[in-house]
């Protein structure tokens, strides 16, 4: 579980997008620190965190950009999703409007972000729904919104159907309980095509030739400069 393993390692730029207060920062905190708490770091523009994810064949170092959810920060988002290889679009299972917003983000990413970006749609706050009690729900859970008396307002089917339509990865998570959180990141890590890893981030984006030239170097440097503190992987 440490960087001593001589596996090939590469960085992946990942951006979190979604409506305010859907739990973007909490997901990151859970993933990076395996922790859940009142958010101590206010997200101004974006917070930057890193975390490694060990796959059997290689190590992925996520460079996570956790963006501010407030509507007016939306116009800053292109700055953060630029060259991102992966995106986590988060919505709140208990808030239908947040799924609408998530769809907007997906559309924005599909049109504006790097081609081939891996997008995962994540419904967070599963702990607030009744199907969180059945430990590993088969994603079939309560589709009726009111029958079970839980706070769920977005059915799994609806979101899943949408995710399939747009070919997104799809998960329902709880940052609070940690349910499914690491799975999301692992799935993303697996979904990143090998080729795009080789060419590091920025593949296909409007990169200058100079940017490409330094790609290999970046990966190596990234290895050498591991900043220590957050090396143990959650997955």
């Amino acid at each position: 579980m440490s960087e001593s393993a001589p596996k090939p390692s590469s960085s992946v730029k990942l951006v979190l997008l979604g409506e305010a207060a859907v739990g973007k920062s909490s997901l990151v905190l859970r993933f990076v620190n395996n922790d859940f708490q009142e958010n101590k770091e206010p997200t101004i523009g974006a917070a930057f965190l890193t975390q490694k994810c060990n796959l059997p064949s290689r190590t992925i170092k996520f460079e996570i950009w956790d963006t501010a959810g407030q509507e007016r920060f939306a116009s800053l988002a292109p700055m953060y999703y630029r060259n991102a290889q992966a995106a986590l679009v988060v919505y709140d299972l208990t808030k239908p409007t947040s799924l609408v917003k998530a769809k907007h983000w997906v559309a924005e990413l599909q049109r504006q972000a790097s081609p081939g970006i891996v997008i995962a749609l994540v419904g967070n706050k599963l702990d607030l729904t009744s199907d969180s009690k059945t430990a590993d729900s088969d994603e079939e859970g309560a589709d009726g919104e009111d029958d079970s008396g839980d706070a769920r307002k977005v059915s799994t089917e609806e979101a899943k159907a949408y995710a399939e339509e747009e070919s997104l990865l799809f998960f329902e998570t709880s940052a609070k309980t940690g349910h499914n959180v690491s799975e999301v990141f692992t799935a993303i890590a697996n979904a990143i095509p090998e080729t795009s890893l080789k060419s590091a981030r920025g593949a296909g984006a409007s990169n200058t030739a100079a940017g490409r030239a330094s790609e290999e170097q970046r990966v190596n440097l990234g290895n050498a400069r591991e900043s220590g503190s957050k090396d143990n992987c959650a997955c």
């Binding site: 930057f48 890193t50 700055m79 630029r82 030239a213 970046r218």
Partner: protein, 1122 residues
């Protein structure tokens, strides 16, 4: 699309100021003297430079240092003395704000702030702080004034005499240098201001009581009083180690300075002042000096109770901003103990909430929580509230706005500065694809509070509040410069960020730990940072920042707007899919461009008004005040602006896409305005007076027609009299998107089906036909097939073949369309269903030429016009049938299926009789959708109209074709035929009733419609006669043509020589023809009808009617003229 919009915006800007090529508002490029003056001295925007004069300031030696021989004669400063309504300001910077001063002299600042704040030596005194002014006898100068202030004397229990004994009375001498006249003028102004300021002394007392300096310098007898609120720090300790910060020493220095140079509002800036600020403010005075240097204390002085009042006023109310604030309260400087307590959180909540109510445009933006939290450590809630205002309005404008354009703009400026000052680092960033703003944005947005350890962030703020936003840039550049080497090794965002993070965490450490020189070793990294920032980057001035902002502004706003556009278009919902991306983009541009232009025009007119009002009552120097900063609103990128289109804007919008929506009589707006009061109130909008600027700007003047009102109402699904972009897109998508003739026919029908009962009544049919004429009067567009020649008219194929959409020579499709419309009306009535089958038998064959009956019918129209939604025509007539009786409801479908199945052939005799009765105006009738559909499809030209010309007449992308000039020249209406030279005025009396006559004059189109309607009615009557004769309705197109012969429209068209298009005769209806047609019954009914009109007009408040028949009681006035 992008450039298209830019062009439009530029055009709009040029309209405002023709000298501007760039997309910059007037206030940007050429800031007013008043705003420069206000910025220089950080005084409220209510203040204007009234007088200024060269002067020399003499500060007598202070009592404390009186023993020092060097100071025996005090200090002298030469500079300029400025006077505004409520302030007297002195500055050693020579800038001038007089009307006559050139821009460069008012903006060529020197000193540390370069116009961005109180620079140089001097003071900014509210006049109410001056206690006494004496004129001294002086040999050298004509005028020498001695000013005594209220400094330290504002507590009631402080005895005057005692204060004098204490030697704390602040007294300065100012020598005015100028002509006797100018000195006297200045003194007069001063006298006036002083007198006005007397009343504010009480306010002043209250305001300064909250300042710690009053407590610090309190007299011996007031030792016992409790200190004012100097922030949460008093309860929870101030951040940092006071010993390390040398807080006591700083406090002593400040106490001495304030004693010598005046406290809070009476403070005089001397060189020591700026030095003291650079070394860091002492904790307890920090809040006060912040509000003094930022000028927010003057805002507080203006309205001392605003904070409390705002909180009280909105207590218990909810808002989106409040929700957002709640989410962030717990994460605002959470490491500071004060914000782990209820007390701190509550203060933070109150300040943020109060501000969100005060400035709803900004509301709440994340990062404000951090800034306000920082302020609250050092100042009271009210102080923080006003300081936040000063920040948002003056110091960092646009940072927290809904689009955050200020933040993005300053990032661009910062990047530009990095590129210029550190080209190697910049190249490296570009090469490694590291985006600088990702790192630097939070620095600016949270004023470094979130980036550096608090103690150091506050040191930056100390300077920032005096010297202005350029400090943020200087510090940012210095950070990069100091870390340059390490940053050159960083090749990705992650490393870049971590280098800077670790730098910030070591600011306390020695900058030169290995140095042999102990003095050098003592220098901390932060001190080094400050030195680099203010020495090495001294070239970064307020002016250079302002210039760079101007340079980048357009691009930044365009970026934001493109993003907003992209987002908006994507979020338009399923209807928008019916339109192409290009169309949506163009639609978006048009929509916001119209709103923007209108807003700008509004503003111009308002300013014009203010200016005029001012000119009439006050001196010329006031001209430049007020409203200047407001000029630049409405642009999407700048933040909240209107996103709703009222009816007038809607008309303007249509006029830019469809040629039929352009007025036929440009310049009639004034008259139109008059008629506006006659329109139903829901369509009224605040119409600006047309003083010097056309209310329609540079674009074509939009037409006014009932059809537009109906369309607006239809699109306005929420019924609030305003259209959103969504409404417009949905509305257009339904017309243009499907390209489905049945859909368009249904859509049209629904427009006229007021009560949604599936029936359009008699009036509706007439209005509908008017609309058809209105829409076609500039020619038809789209694909009209040549085979149309066999229809409607008598198949003059040679003529029919003419091109469409442009001016046709002779009888073109456009003109044949008129015939089609006539036929349409006739058929409508033929196939319409009677509302009352029972009545029909008895009154079947009523004489039709009865003028009284006619006027009755028109009276119905009156009612209906006033209340379009009502549509209760039957009820009004008192026939007692609830609208839409079952019998009727059953009938139409059968009729429809039959009719559509074998077209027009199988019309039975019975039905023709029914139609016959339907022609009788006394008998209400209605047409159902199937009937309407059938009638439309019966005429190929109409069919084509609905299939293609109507949908294509909306030119979303390319706008109105340039051939359709706003002049009446290209009209294919009756109005352009023949009588163009005839003044329209005589029509009005002819139309019977002043109101209607006025209307007739005002709006050519409507007049046309009226005339058409009249003619159509007459035609109906004739048709009925005919029907009576042969008891057989027109069954075939052939017969239609026969009928058409009698119709004035057709007559004119066909009898014309068919010559050149420009020849009016060729297309005109000869007056003699018309006389023949209309003379008899018009003359017969003239008098009676006029009476009837007058009679029925009164109860409805004289509302004119668009299609009240302009019956010709004057034979010379012919319906189809212009």
């Amino acid at each position: 699309m992008f450039s298209n919009f830019t062009n439009i915006v530029q055009k709009a800007q040029q309209f405002i100021d023709p000298t501007q090529g760039l997309n910059l508002s007037n206030s940007d490029r050429n800031p007013s003297k008043a705003s420069l003056f206000q910025n220089q001295f950080r005084i409220p925007s209510t203040q204007n430079p009234l007088h200024e004069i060269n002067a020399e300031l003499t500060i007598p030696p202070s009592n404390q240092t009186s023993g020092d021989k060097d100071h025996d004669r005090g200090w002298h400063y030469a500079g300029k003395l400025h006077l505004s309504e409520g302030y007297m300001c002195f500055s050693t910077t020579p800038s001038s704000f007089a009307q006559s001063a050139s821009v460069s002299t008012s903006s060529a600042f020197t000193g540390q702030t370069h116009g961005g704040g109180p620079s140089g030596n001097g003071f900014t005194w509210p006049l109410c702080a001056i206690r006494r002014v004496e004129r001294l006898n002086s040999q050298n100068f004509q005028f020498a004034l001695a000013f005594t202030t209220w400094n330290g004397l504002l507590y009631e229990d402080t005895k005057d005499t005692k204060a004098k004994q204490d030697g704390r009375e602040q007294r300065i001498i100012i020598h005015l240098a100028g002509t006797r006249q100018s000195c006297e003028r200045f003194c007069d102004g001063l006298k006036k201001g002083l007198r006005a300021g007397v009343g504010s002394v009480g306010k002043l007392r209250k305001v300064v009581a909250e300042d710690y300096s009053e407590y610090l310098l309190r007299t011996e007898d007031r030792k016992g009083i409790s200190p004012p609120d100097a922030g949460l720090g008093m309860i929870f300790r101030y951040p940092g180690d006071p010993k390390k910060l040398r807080d006591r020493a700083k406090m002593r220095l400040w106490a001495e300075y304030l004693r010598d140079n005046g406290r809070n509002v009476t403070l005089i800036r001397q060189p020591t002042f700026h030095k003291l600020i650079r070394v860091g403010l002492p904790n307890r005075l920090r809040g006060e000096i912040w509000e003094l240097t930022s000028g927010s204390i003057f805002l507080r002085l203006e309205n001392p109770t605003q904070y409390e009042e705002t909180l009280a006023k909105f207590e218990g109310q909810d808002s989106l901003a409040i929700d957002e604030i709640e989410k962030d309260l717990n994460r605002s400087l959470p490491e500071y103990p004060g914000f782990q307590s209820e007390e701190g959180i509550n203060r933070l909540r109150r300040v943020l909430v109060a501000y969100s109510w005060t400035n709803t445009d900004v509301g709440y933006c994340q990062a404000m929580n951090i800034v306000v939290a920082a302020l609250l450590i050092y100042m009271s809630e009210a102080q923080a509230f006003f300081l936040l205002s000063a920040l948002c309005d003056r110091l960092v404008p646009g940072y927290y706005s809904t689009t955050m354009y200020g933040t993005l703009l300053d990032q661009k400026v910062f990047e530009g500065l990095v590129e210029k000052t550190m080209p190697i680092l910049w190249d490296h960033l570009v090469k490694s694809d590291v985006q600088l703003s990702v790192v630097s944005l939070p620095w600016f947005l949270s004023l470094y509070i979130n980036s550096m350890p608090l103690v150091f962030a506050f040191r930056v703020l100390d300077v920032f509040f005096v010297e202005g936003p350029k400090v943020l840039f200087q510090v940012g550049l210095a950070i990069l410069r100091i870390n340059g080497e390490e940053l050159l090794d960083a090749t990705d965002d992650g490393t870049f960020i971590s280098v800077l993070k670790s730098y910030f965490s070591r600011l306390e450490e020695s900058a030169h730990p290995k140095s042999e020189n102990p003095k050098l070793r003592a220098v901390t990294r932060f001190q080094e940072l400050m030195v680099v920032a203010f020495k090495e980057f001294a070239g970064i001035t307020h002016n250079s920042i302002t210039e760079l902002r101007l340079k980048h502004k357009d691009a930044v706003l365009n970026n934001i707007e493109n993003f907003a556009k992209r987002t908006a278009i994507r979020n338009l919902g399923p209807d928008s899919k019916l339109l192409s991306t290009e169309e949506l983009g163009a639609l978006y541009d048009r929509f916001y461009n119209i709103l923007y232009e209108r807003q700008q025009r509004d503003m111009m007119l308002q300013q014009d008004k203010i200016r005029k009002a001012k000119q009439s009552r006050a001196r010329a120097s006031e001209i430049f005040s007020g409203g200047q900063d407001e000029v630049e609103k409405g642009r999407v990128g700048l933040g909240p602006s209107t996103s709703h289109m009222d009816y007038d804007a809607f008309r303007e919008f249509l006029a830019s896409t469809s040629k039929w929506a352009i007025s036929d009589s440009p310049g009639s707006s004034r008259r139109d305005t008059m008629s506006e009061s006659d329109r139903p109130t829901r369509y009224q909008s605040a119409r600006r007076p047309t003083e010097s600027i056309s209310p329609w700007g540079s674009g074509p003047e939009p037409a006014e027609h009932e059809f537009l009102q109906r369309l607006f109402k239809k699109w306005d699904v929420d019924g609030n009299g305003q259209l959103t972009l969504q409404n417009v897109v949905t509305g257009l998508a339904r017309i243009k998107g499907r390209r489905d003739i049945m859909g368009t026919i249904t859509y049209f029908f629904e427009l006229y089906d007021d009560d949604n009962d599936g029936k359009v009544d008699r009036e509706g049919i007439l209005r509908l036909s008017e609309a058809l004429l209105f829409l076609s009067r500039r020619g038809l567009e789209g694909s009209l097939s040549p085979s149309a020649s066999t229809l409607a008219l008598n198949g003059d194929a040679g003529v029919v073949r003419e091109s469409q959409g442009s001016l046709p020579p002779g009888a073109s499709a456009n003109e044949r369309f008129l015939g089609s419309v006539s036929a349409f009306i006739r058929r409508c009535f033929e196939y319409a269903d009677p509302d009352h089958p029972n009545n029909q038998a008895s009154e079947k064959f009523q004489t039709e030429n009865d003028a009284e009956d006619n006027s009755n019918a028109f009276a119905i129209g009156d009612d209906e016009d006033e209340d379009e939604e009502d549509g209760g025509e039957e009820d009004l007539l008192g026939f007692g049938s609830p609208s839409g009786s079952p019998s009727k409801a059953q009938k139409p479908p059968t009729l429809a299926t039959e009719d559509t199945q074998d077209s027009q052939r199988s019309v039975s005799k019975a039905k023709s009789e029914a139609a016959n009765a339907a022609l009788d105006p006394a008998h209400p009738l209605h047409m159902t959708l199937p009937t309407f559909r059938m009638v439309v499809l019966a005429d190929e030209l109409l069919e084509q109209f609905f299939e293609s010309s109507f949908p294509t007449s909306f030119h979303i992308v390319d706008g109105v074709p340039s051939t359709a000039s706003p002049s009446a020249g290209g009209l294919t209406t009756f109005s352009s035929l023949g009588f163009g030279s005839r003044p329209p005025v005589p029509i009005s009396p002819a139309a019977g009733g002043a109101g209607r006559g006025l209307r007739g004059v005002m709006d050519g189109i409507i007049t046309d419609g009226m005339r058409v309607a009249t003619e159509v009615r007459r035609r109906m009557d004739e048709a009925q006669k005919e029907l009576e004769k042969n008891a057989l309705p027109g069954q075939k197109p052939d017969e239609d043509e026969e009928d058409d012969e009698d119709i004035g429209i057709a007559v004119g068209v066909r009898r014309g020589p068919g010559g050149a298009s420009g020849d009016s005769d060729s297309r005109s209806v000869k007056s003699s023809d018309l006389d023949l047609l209309s003379g008899a019954d018009a003359e017969a009914g003239a008098v009676k009808e006029q009476e009837a009109n007058l009679a029925d007009k009164d109860p409805h408040g004289g509302k004119p009617l668009p299609h009240r028949p302009a019956t010709t009681n004057e034979p010379g006035v012919v319906e189809f003229e212009g």
